[in-house]
């Protein structure tokens, strides 16, 4: 995506999508905190985001000829995060691996960071609105 909404807006968009996934996974872990044999799940958020942002540039397909298709247009929204069984756990004698305190902490951290991301998006949009009205106080 180019022009008005740059890479930062895309990154913030995929960031809140990952936060939502993380929230749902944490809810699932909490609901199953006492289900025998349930294995706690974890979302690899940071890695998924850096892959989405393509920080090291490996996912980029370069176009050096006018006939080449632009290949990585709106790829950022479609990147899926890895969800896996949390290896860093304590097993209870019924085979359940949920650490309720840790999940609660993760949940509140996630909520705060979600709101922070939303604030950044709002600031970004406010900046655009300011430019669109030539600074004449739309906001």
């Amino acid at each position: 995506m180019s022009g008005l909404f740059d890479k930062t807006t895309d990154a913030l968009g995929s960031s809140i999508n990952f936060r939502l996934l993380k929230q749902n996974v944490a809810s699932s872990n909490i609901a199953n905190a006492e289900t025998p044999g349930y294995k706690a799940k974890k979302v690899d958020f940071e890695q998924a985001l850096s892959r989405a942002l393509d920080i090291n540039g490996l996912g980029q397909m370069s176009t050096d000829h006018p006939d080449h298709f632009y290949a990585n247009g709106n790829s950022m929204m479609n990147v899926g995060a890895d969800v896996y069984e949390n290896p860093d756990i304590t097993v209870t004698n019924d085979g359940n691996t949920v650490d309720l305190e840790r999940e609660m902490a993760e949940l509140s951290e996630n909520t705060i960071l979600y709101r922070a991301t939303l604030q950044l998006i709002n600031k970004k949009l406010a900046g655009l609105a300011y430019a669109a009205t030539e600074g004449s106080g739309a906001r």
């Binding site: 939502l20 909490i30 609901a31």
Partner: protein, 145 residues
């Protein structure tokens, strides 16, 4: 994947814990019950929790592979304790057998109370998760405002 998924998962946790709470209440209320419709003393009940993939509706189950990472919880069974009853020597009790022993339910009050506290805490954890998800959804509506 939306906010409703998280809310549905948390609510499944709430109803499972409520069901567990009802069972514990039943156990505590019947701690001295010596007569039941099935005959014999009351037998201790225990819920069985099972996790299952969260799906919206029947169509979704048919058409797509459910997301195995998001699991709701459900009470799939209520098990009846088949252990031997507690025999107390009370020859004047109307339910006493030929030797003067009365069969009481084998319920440990302390065990039921600790289970009750655990169920309460789990319920609260699910309420907090639900609240957090609701707050996130509400703040998402503020985008661009």
């Amino acid at each position: 994947m939306d906010f409703a998924t998280g809310l549905r998962i948390s609510s499944s946790g709430l109803s499972a814990q409520r069901m567990r709470m009802n069972t514990i209440s039943s156990n505590i209320a019947n701690i001295n019950t010596t007569r039941t419709p099935e005959g014999g003393p009351y037998r201790r009940k225990d819920v069985v929790f099972e996790s299952m993939p969260e799906t919206k509706n029947f169509g979704e189950i048919l058409t797509s592979e459910p997301d195995r990472n998001l699991q709701r919880v459900q009470v799939t069974d209520v098990q009846v304790d088949r252990g031997a009853p507690l025999l107390k020597y009370e020859p004047n009790h109307p339910e006493a057998n030929a030797d003067g022993y009365v069969a009481y339910p084998n319920i440990n009050l302390m065990e039921e109370m600790t289970n009750m506290i655990q169920a309460t805490r789990s319920y609260e954890a699910n309420v907090s998760a639900m609240q957090a998800t609701k707050d996130m959804a509400a703040s998402a509506l503020e985008i661009g405002r």
